[in-house]
Symmetry: C2
């Protein structure tokens, strides 16, 4: 009678304790891998847990430890390949470490939508934050709010370098640019990402650095919005001028739009114009022509994020300091200029 478990209510540690003939604290110790538990006792408890289909109550645990075991992710453009791959790998890494992930998305880029997102995360009592929407104003909003939470960002920015886990975007952009220069191009445009995105800025910087290093004169980059749509319209405008033989696009989608516009203008890629993208989305190999691009290891990026964040949270020295080196993938969208 006293042994019977109430129907319709999940069992708790006291139920387990009673059936195993120990105190609730012993059960708790088994749950937390406390060293000084006799093997026979542990086994008995585990058996009862199994019988009862016992699952620890996360809320109760969070309440008493005041640790939510949740990390927040602040993202934007979530449906794009890069962000979504990263989120996926963050989530699986966090899950392995026993953490939950709560994401908040920024749709509009205004200050208030950033605040809404951060407040949402704050309400979850997150213990750490990964920022995948590395816009300058996001950092501003964070320091204004002073959420006292360790955070990690995917990309470097002045003043936040402690937190940065980066694919070396600058190096990637230099690879792409160097490739074009080595092919013989001298009139190269850069179609950049949105102005306030840190990775857009880094890629732009890499482009300019390499151009300068090789003594090639540059024109001002065009600021885009990452979308194929924008690339297409930018390409239409550019094709009116035609004072270039190559374009380095800050991501693959815009590169796709560019190639579309170039064909529409009756020109050929790569014969008339060479195109390089960035990211190496899975589709890039099948674009027409297959796109030369810079490959980022998104899954690895996500894993490192979590590793570093958990490290910071536990006040450990945060292992990974090195950047992930991106890789140039040469495909058919680049060739020697045709003069």
């Amino acid at each position: 009678m006293t042994d019977s478990v109430d129907r319709g209510k999940a069992p708790n540690i006291r139920d387990v304790a009673r059936l195993a003939g120990v105190s609730h604290q012993t059960v708790s110790r088994v749950l937390n891998d406390h060293p000084s538990i006799r093997d026979s006792t542990r086994q008995r408890v585990l058996d009862v847990m199994n019988d009862l289909q016992y699952r620890p109550n996360r809320a109760a645990r969070a309440l008493v430890t005041s640790r939510s075991r949740t990390i927040g992710v602040l993202a934007s453009q979530r449906s794009q390949y890069g962000p979504s791959s990263i989120i996926q790998s963050i989530e699986s890494a966090a899950q392995d470490a026993g953490y939950l992930v709560s994401t908040a998305n920024i749709t509009k880029t205004d200050e208030s939508s950033i605040l809404t997102a951060l407040n949402h995360l704050n309400a979850q009592a997150i213990e750490g934050l990964v920022i995948i929407a590395p816009q300058v104003r996001v950092f501003r909003a964070i320091s204004n709010l002073d959420l006292r939470v360790p955070f990690v960002t995917m990309n470097t920015s002045e003043g936040t370098d402690d937190h940065a886990i980066a694919v070396d975007q600058v190096a990637g952009a230099r690879l792409a640019t160097r490739h074009l220069i080595e092919l013989g191009h001298r009139n190269i445009y850069h179609l950049a990402g949105p102005q306030d995105w840190i990775e857009a800025e880094a890629r732009m910087r890499g482009f300019l650095e390499e151009m300068n290093a090789q003594d090639v004169p540059t024109t001002a980059p065009i600021l885009g919005d990452w979308s194929a749509e924008f690339g297409y319209y930018a390409g239409r405008e550019l094709m009116r001028v035609r004072d270039f033989t190559a374009i380095f696009s800050s991501n693959d989608q815009m590169a796709l739009g560019l190639m579309h516009a170039i064909r529409d203008a009756g020109q050929d890629v790569p014969h008339d114009v060479s195109i390089v993208g960035f990211d190496d989305i899975p589709e890039a190999a099948h674009f027409w022509p297959p796109l030369t691009t810079v490959k980022q290891d998104f899954p690895e990026l996500g894993r490192r994020c979590v590793a570093q964040l958990l490290g910071t949270m536990d006040d450990q020295a945060a292992g990974y300091t090195g950047r992930i080196q991106p890789e140039l993938i040469v495909r058919a969208s680049t060739a020697r200029p045709s003069f």
Copy 2:
């Protein structure tokens, strides 16, 4: 002295109560919009909350109410455009309703990885479940586990229709197929998705139904894996045969791969082969040639999911019964056959 709030600890309702000169229960009532609170009292409490930067503790609330206010999402292929768009809209809809979203991803398709994912969600004490990985075996695993949680799935399958919120995949596939037939094609292949995906099956069914309805003889569909890569290799095989003038691909990525292979074989899309995709990913308009495809309203799908799920959870009649109608987007990848 007694009024001072401990530093380093988040304020709780009792702190608020003390400073507002009321009982903790009154504070709780303010939090929960209880009707019988005098306006002046409410305002006083709200002011104190504001001063203290009070945030209700989700864990404590979850503990006492035994409601986690969390809904789970079981996904697969998360980094692809469709799933990630849906997840994004689910998340924002859930957030609006005061719910948290916890996602679990299935990478491998074996039974055990499904169980792992479901267990992960189960450990969160989710109150509802959205299934975006509508593989047949997922349903089997769910009924085996008998998680007593209401769930919703994106696509219909025999026996689970109560839970289905569907874009009418069959209708979409029929639209695509009819378009090809009306252009005059008679030898049409279908490149389907993985066998055990319910949406793949539905699109295949739509294809076959329409072909039958129009008395066009069909060949057995080819089973793919959704990737552009697969589309490419399938295309290479198909180009050896060349007994067709059109292919209906079950998604845009595979269509992209097909077009790549067709060009590699020296043939032209749409002159020699017409191609139709499915999904209308943002890049599809800029493929070469721009892809004729069937557009799904992913964000709406996500919103409905949440609406229906919350409805079911509150035992309300679950509003939306109608399917979302997909739309054919005709672009340059389809034309009359060239004989």
